[in-house]
Amino acid sequence: MFSRELTVSDIERLERVATAAVEALQMDEDTFRAFYDRTARQVWAYLARITGDRTVADDLLQESYYRFLRAERAFTSDSHRRNYLYRIATNLAHDRHRRGRVAVHVPMPEENAPGALSDGRDLAAETERRTDLARAMATLKPREREMLWLAYAQGSSHEEIAESLGLRKSSIKILLFRARRRLASALGGAR
């Protein structure tokens, strides 16, 4: 086969393709920026806690918003849009987990000297609580971690959890009960 150099018409065609790809993004810049400012920190916190790795959370955050922007879907509400974003983030975290690139680990306490936090709480006690939770979370299945985080850290409803995780709403109650039981036992054991 012959390989040809790009001609002017090729470059123009590719330029048109690139422009069309940007125009096909889910939102315009202003809408995206407002949506991102509302959701990014929450999504990062979710990814960091379900994967147990901040660097992975950084990567997956970018990938999640990019895929969200390229999704060819119509959304009926802001909540629908947010749930879809969580679904993308969750699927990406699952892919990473399946490929074995993420081993949920217990984060080491930060290198701070024991003392008090700016709001008066005891740093050592705070660190211990966080380590206990991380250790207990690491004993759960990925789906359980996701569900518990959405329900109790973010206060999502059963319907939102079902939509974000791609599960049936009717099964959330029992799954959540089991996951909560397991985490409570693990926390009880850690204390």
Binding site: M1, F2, S3, R4, E5, T7, D10, R13, L14, V17, A18, T19, A20, A21, V22, A24, L25, E29, F32, R33, A34, Y36, D37, A40, R41, Q42, W44, A45, A48, R49, L61, Q62, Y65, Y66, L69, R70, E126, R129, R130, D132, L133, L148, W149, Y152, A153, Q154, G155, K173, I174, F177, R180, R181, L183, A184, L187, G188
Partner: protein, 159 residues
């Protein structure tokens, strides 16, 4: 015996936790219920730990700015679109080559009697004809094959 999987007072507990009223600013009746309800005890243990962790994670989140994220996504969308459009269609080229060979084979099959009839008298008449006729026919055939390729190479706008 059926196991209870939820307690009707769960939402009250979650509200109290969310508004930082638990445990000191809730009524004694709720506190007494919690002390006897295993489900609510689990809810308190899990929800209070997770809310606290959520607040910490939220504070720690160091996410790129929205402008930066938009710019990166836009760039990547452009690059991906160009890459997809410029990707050589190897499969299509392979199919086209196989089809061309197939067509040539079928055409050869049908044309064979005609070609045979043309060359056999020509070969028998070659002694009487000019010795230049056969090489001329071969040269014409070669030209028919090579000419399109040569034209493609010349017109392919290489610098």
């Amino acid at each position: 015996m059926t196991t209870l999987i939820e307690c009707p007072r769960e939402s009250e507990i979650l509200d109290a936790l969310a508004s930082a009223r638990w445990p000191s600013r809730v009524d004694a009746e709720l506190t007494s219920h919690v002390s006897s309800c295993e489900i609510c005890q689990d809810v308190i243990a899990v929800a209070s730990a997770m809310r606290e962790d959520h607040d910490t994670a939220y504070r720690e989140a160091n996410v790129p700015s929205s402008g930066q994220m938009w710019w990166r996504s836009e760039m990547r969308a452009r690059q991906d679109a160009v890459r997809e459009a410029a990707r050589p269609v190897a499969v299509a080229q392979g199919v086209a080559a196989v089809l061309a060979l197939g067509v040539a084979g079928v055409a050869g099959w049908f044309a064979w009697p005609t070609v045979h009839d043309f060359f056999v008298p020509a070969a028998s008449a070659a002694q009487t004809m000019s010795p230049m006729v056969l090489p001329l026919l071969v040269a014409m055939g070669t030209l028919l094959v090579v000419a399109p390729v040569a034209l493609y190479v010349v017109l392919s706008e290489k610098p």
